[in-house]
């Protein structure tokens, strides 16, 4: 098995070497790695079979909330390999068999409507139903017993910052300076994506990783409390709940109680939509960067990056340092950026049996074939709105920013005591994330009667405005600040979605990896059944209702529907975000004493 490890992780990220068992073979990894990373580093990209079509699946994103693949760990089915870290002797089992019948049935299976065209005869329906229900690749619930008493930890603070990237860290630091008890909750580890940036981010004079590390150190020195590897799962009416999936087999629930919240959950890389885009080996830019910088694992030897965006091109710079062959594919006919870029790409078809092996590109009058072992989606991002929307912020679509919580210059949302910052507010650059985080932290302090923070905030806001000018996103942001005042939803038209690398509604271009929903299903829901609002498309196809809770599919779906109907994405809308952000085992919930703090 070939290894994709190219360097030793830095000392502060390096865990101990341990061996785990994968389908009977021993694989070495580090305790600092999740199962996903270790397997990927050892060339194992195929983790699971998809739910309805039994297609091979690997992880698309390493983010714990992007639960698109499940794996059997220590006999526990349905475990997310990206949230479990290695321990000595862990046993991983990967299901690789595909039922023979699937070869015959795949073309007939209607994954969204599950059944409709298959059975017309009502009399044989009960039989067909049983067959369909049993042919879905669902696991059995994990069988494990935890003691019926998990202590519920109540965490009280003045301010809770959700997301430990540079925006979240900056917010926590400012709030702490003005004396607020501050708690920072992060899914992965403090530092966010900038911790993975070995180059100088635009507008900054030191490598991103150095900056992020210093910021992290400063926050800890100032006494910001941290819950890492913990996800804020929901704003309930009577409590706010956070959950850490550790230790394996039970997990730890926290009840959070705070006077104000800063949501700095960052942005989500949207999957690109093209033929066979569900093959293992197709990952998002953020995971590629994380694997490379934190774990020293390259995503592949020959890599295709989709989208000649700032993000895509920076990733290429990183990959070049480790002698990875890269090619950038972009839809636009012309644009800035140097190097190995193929422009004017109309259609992409990924080829491979159990993982990506090659790529076919169609552009004006020519067809190219490339041998690649990894495809990275960097064409577009969208703010992660799961938490802010759930907490009560109002969401709108602005072309340059995506679906974004409406906020003002002070980073206030339309819900009192809820602030946003960084990627979660639609800003693309790290330097903006820092200043937004600082403003959000100061605004939170001011809202909690630390009025002496006003002078500092006013100075920062001036700087912020000029930075927005400098980076050319002043117009959309100012537009948003006006919406905050007027509360009138803008009418935005979109052209072809940046993530769409597909000329027609193909049956093998996947929008939802959890439920096997394809572009074809979406297209039919819109054109045959006439549904144009995302809530209805969701209910007729099942999109956004499965494990990843729409994290990867809802924005793409909304933009695609807007594109084919010509409606404003604000009319199509984004579906209501409901708790929980990640699922929690029943035994953990049952063991909780509800302390209404």
């Amino acid at each position: 098995m070939s290894t994709l490890r190219v360097k030793e992780p830095t000392a502060d990220n390096r865990g101990e070497t341990v061996s785990i068992d994968v389908n009977g073979t021993t694989v070495k990894g580090l305790t600092s790695e999740s199962i996903s990373v270790t397997l990927y580093a050892n060339g194992i990209k195929f983790f699971d079979r998809s739910k309805k079509l039994y297609r091979p699946r690997g992880f698309f994103s390493l983010h714990p909330q992007a639960r698109t693949v499940m794996i059997n760990v220590n006999g526990m089915l349905a475990t997310n390999p990206s949230e479990i870290y290695l321990t000595e002797g862990l046993k991983v089992h990967i299901q690789q068999k595909r039922p023979l019948s699937m070869h015959f049935f795949e073309p007939m299976i209607d994954t969204s409507l599950l059944h409709k065209p298959i059975v017309k005869n009502r009399l044989i329906w009960p039989l067909a139903l049983r067959f369909i229900a049993n042919s879905i690749n669902n696991p059995e619930p994990a069988e494990y017993e935890t003691p019926h008493s998990i202590p519920t930890i109540v965490e009280k603070a003045d301010l809770v910052v959700v997301g430990g990237g540079v925006a979240g860290l900056s917010a926590a630091i400012e709030a702490r300076k003005y004396g607020l008890e501050t708690l920072l909750i992060d899914d992965v580890e403090l530092g966010g994506e900038m911790l993975c940036d070995e180059l100088e981010p635009p507008g900054m004079s030191e490598p991103g990783c150095v900056f992020a590390r210093n910021l992290r150190k400063k926050a800890l020195e100032l006494g910001v409390r941290v819950l890492s590897k913990t996800t804020l799962v929901g704003f309930f009416e009577d409590a706010v709940l956070a959950f850490s999936p550790h230790p394996l087999g039970s997990g730890t629930p926290y009840i959070i109680s705070a006077k104000a919240y800063v949501v700095a959950t960052g942005a989500v890389d949207l999957p690109c939509i093209f033929a066979n885009n569900d093959l293992p080996g197709i990952i998002d830019a953020s995971s590629a960067l994380r694997m490379l910088s934190i774990h020293g694992v390259v995503p592949g030897k020959n890599v295709a990056v989709l989208g000649a965006t700032e993000r895509g091109l920076r990733l290429v710079e990183h990959l070049k340092k480790y002698a990875v062959n890269t090619i950038v594919l972009d839809k636009s006919k012309n644009g800035a950026g140097k190097g190995n870029i193929v422009r004017g790409v109309k259609e992409i078809i990924a080829i491979g049996k159990d993982k990506v092996e090659a790529l076919k590109i169609k552009r004006d009058g020519e067809e190219l074939k490339l041998n690649v072992d990894c495809i990275i989606c960097a064409a577009s991002t969208n703010p992660d709105i799961k938490i802010s929307a759930q907490a009560g912020a109002k969401i709108t679509y602005i072309k340059e920013l995506g679906f974004v919580p409406i906020h003002d210059l002070f980073m206030r949302t339309l819900k009192s005591n809820l602030f946003v910052a960084g990627g979660a507010s639609g800003s693309p650059y790290g330097i903006l994330h820092v200043i937004e985080g600082r403003i959000a932290g100061l605004s939170a302090a001011i809202s909690l009667n630390k009025t002496d923070a006003e002078a500092e905030r006013d100075a920062l806001v001036k700087e912020y405005r000029s930075l927005l000018q400098k980076f050319g996103i002043s117009d959309p942001k100012e537009k948003m600040f006006r919406y905050f005042e007027t509360k009138v939803v803008p009418d935005e038209k979109i052209t072809e979605p940046p993530t769409l690398f597909c000329s027609g509604p193909r049956r093998n271009a996947f929008v939802c990896f959890c439920e096997d929903i394809r572009l074809w299903d979406l297209y039919r829901s819109v054109s045959v059944y006439g549904f144009t609002c995302l809530e209805k498309v969701k209910r007729s196809t099942g999109i956004g209702t499965a494990r990843c809770q729409g994290r990867l599919c809802l924005v793409n779906s909304a933009l695609y529907i807007a594109y084919i109907t010509g409606l404003s994405p604000n009319v199509v809308g984004i579906a209501r975000q409901r708790p929980l952000a990640i699922s929690i085992p029943i035994n953990v919930l049952a063991a909780m004493g509800v302390n209404k703090a």
């Binding site: 049993n134 929980l580 049952a590």
Partner: protein, 378 residues
Amino acid sequence: MRIAIVGSGIMGLSSAYNLAKLGAKNIIILEKEYLSYGSTVRSASRFRVHFWTEENSRFALEAKKIMVSLSSITGWNVLVTTGGYLWLLFSEEQIKAFREKNKMWERLGIAGKFLSPSEIKERYPYIHTDDVLEGFFGPQNGSCFHNYVAFGYYKAAARLGAKLFERSPVERVLVENNKVVGVELPQGKVEADVVLLTAGAWTDELLKGLGIMLPTEPERKEMALTESYKYFIEPLIIDLGTSAYIGQALKGEILGSIEVPVKSGLLPLENTLDFLVKWARAVYKRFPALRGARVMRCWSGYYSMSADSSHIMGRDPEWPEGLYVAYGDSGHGFMMGPLIGKLLARNILYGEIDELMRPFLPTRFKEGKLIPEKLVIG
């Protein structure tokens, strides 16, 4: 005749379809959000025929007949299964009451079966039965897919000419000379000779605007859903000890709910951790196999509760001419909806009052002829 239907849940859509089928023209459906927003899309999508009162059981029996043939009526496969309902009984009184009721159900041809704890264990090995005294199994009951019921009805009604207007919140019903003349929206007025209020929990407000007081009020209920697992729970299982229930959808998600004390009224459609924990505790105790199942999502919706927990349909002759209602279904509107629409359509067009419908008229409250329904959960 111009007919305006307020609300596009199952009640409004099945009424629209049946009216259109009987030849009514000019039907418009006014929906404040989007198609079938409200309680229909939030329902647990189950149907049953076993009710505490004979009126409800008879009604539900006819409604079920329509439900199971809905696929051929609307062209949308509504995924009907008949996995049954299993009530777990924990006291002698409960057993006695169910035995008493089973005599009535037997007369209607829908007798259920009493199962001893060991029989339950044998049939459903995943249920913890140590403290269960007996179970009552109603094999006639089942599930269907609520979204396709609603969408199918809508498509069928639209084919026959009914028009749906979304994001059109009706603010009040307009009455002149004791006769309905239309409804008022923020966008303007819509003229109509008949106004049918099927706005579920939001109907109270509209009726109040006309000075009509019926003993109904909205009550928020919460539901939770797990990730998908192998399909193994066929019936809907109601634990009468804790008032929790669970069932499994064909796609594999296990869904359920539990009664939690809540203030009545149109509370925000949020969730409480209190509910989630109580439900999880009930499931933990009753279904050991589900302890590792992961709760993925929760949501809430309204029951439109009436004083006797039975639905209200038709009109009171003292009301302004042309005003009809179908609401107050107290949580079982989804399963009754297909028949409510059918009977109401004949009532509106021909003035017919079917024998099944008569007990459910809104006049029953002032006449004191209540239908005290006790089987509300599930």
